[in-house]
Symmetry: C2
Subunit: 143 residues, 2 copies
DNA sequence: ATACACCTTCCAGTATACTAGAAGGTCAAG
DNA sequence: CTTGACCTTCTAGTATACTGGAAGGTGTAT
């Protein structure tokens, strides 16, 4: 049993997650409150290293902290490998990504259309506030 | 000359932008500070209606307030139809959209891969913290 | 003894674009 | 004169995931 007490700085070093963030995760409820030394220093074990690395990986997958929390809570409640919940979460997330992508593509296309119109500005007829706005204010009154 | 004094409620009604938002735009510097009545009520003109509608349209194109501000300031500085700046802005914006889309696609694909692996869990070998995390904490200690 | 790195808590700020609500003034109608 | 709809300013909250800094305690080496 290597019960090496890892202080927060070490944990940070081993995981690449800042101490601020570690404390934040604890407060957020995604990391367990660790034991403390006599002088109130947090100390962690290898388990915490693993858990934090797991969180990190989940984040890289694009999960939000709240979603990671869900997964962790479910796992802690002893629910099997909690695959249904996670599968559900992932499916929803994928859908969300798809929606977002469509949305971005739409916005992008609209911008491109505008842009294309400008590139060949053959006739610049009545383009008051629509395309290139020449917004007239009452003189230079802004002080 | 129809110098109808439009109060903020009317402006809101005519543009579909809430009064709160209108005041916020003013503070943000995107809408001019309007004249006031004796009793300190803001009053607006048709020009403001147009400008606000322009802002609304620009927002729909996916521009941020700060970007709209840029465009407006440039226009107010008397820079031609300010097309170069706007073209630039739009080009950058389009690039940003593209990047974001790629990013989302990557995240999406990674999720899908995970998901596919789960759907046919033929061999569930060494999946400690990697796939379906069975995170063991020390009992049911959370109080 | 003191320097230094480390730890603690707490408060505030970041970015974005608002929204909610409180407390109070104004105006026209009845 | 009161009611109700409008207007005002100001403060704070929303969501997200942290980051920064202050003020102060701890532990070890010299």
């Amino acid at each position: 049993m290597q019960n090496k007490k890892i202080l927060i700085g070490k944990l940070s070093e081993e995981t690449g997650v800042s101490t601020k963030t570690i404390r934040y995760y604890e407060e957020f409820g995604i990391l367990d409150k660790p034991k403390r030394t006599r002088s109130d220093y947090r100390f962690y074990s290898q388990k915490d290293v693993d858990k934090l690395l797991f969180i990190k990986k989940a984040k890289e997958l694009g999960l939000k902290l709240s979603e990671i929390k869900e997964i962790i809570y479910c796992a802690e409640d002893g629910l099997k490998p909690c695959c249904n919940l996670v599968r559900n979460l992932f499916t929803k997330k994928i859908k969300k990504y798809e929606d977002k992508i469509v949305e971005l593509n739409t916005a992008k296309k609209r911008l491109e259309e505008k842009l294309n119109k400008w590139v060949k500005p053959k006739q610049a007829k009545k383009m008051k506030y629509s395309v290139c706005p020449q917004i007239e204010t009452e003189g230079r009154k802004r002080k």
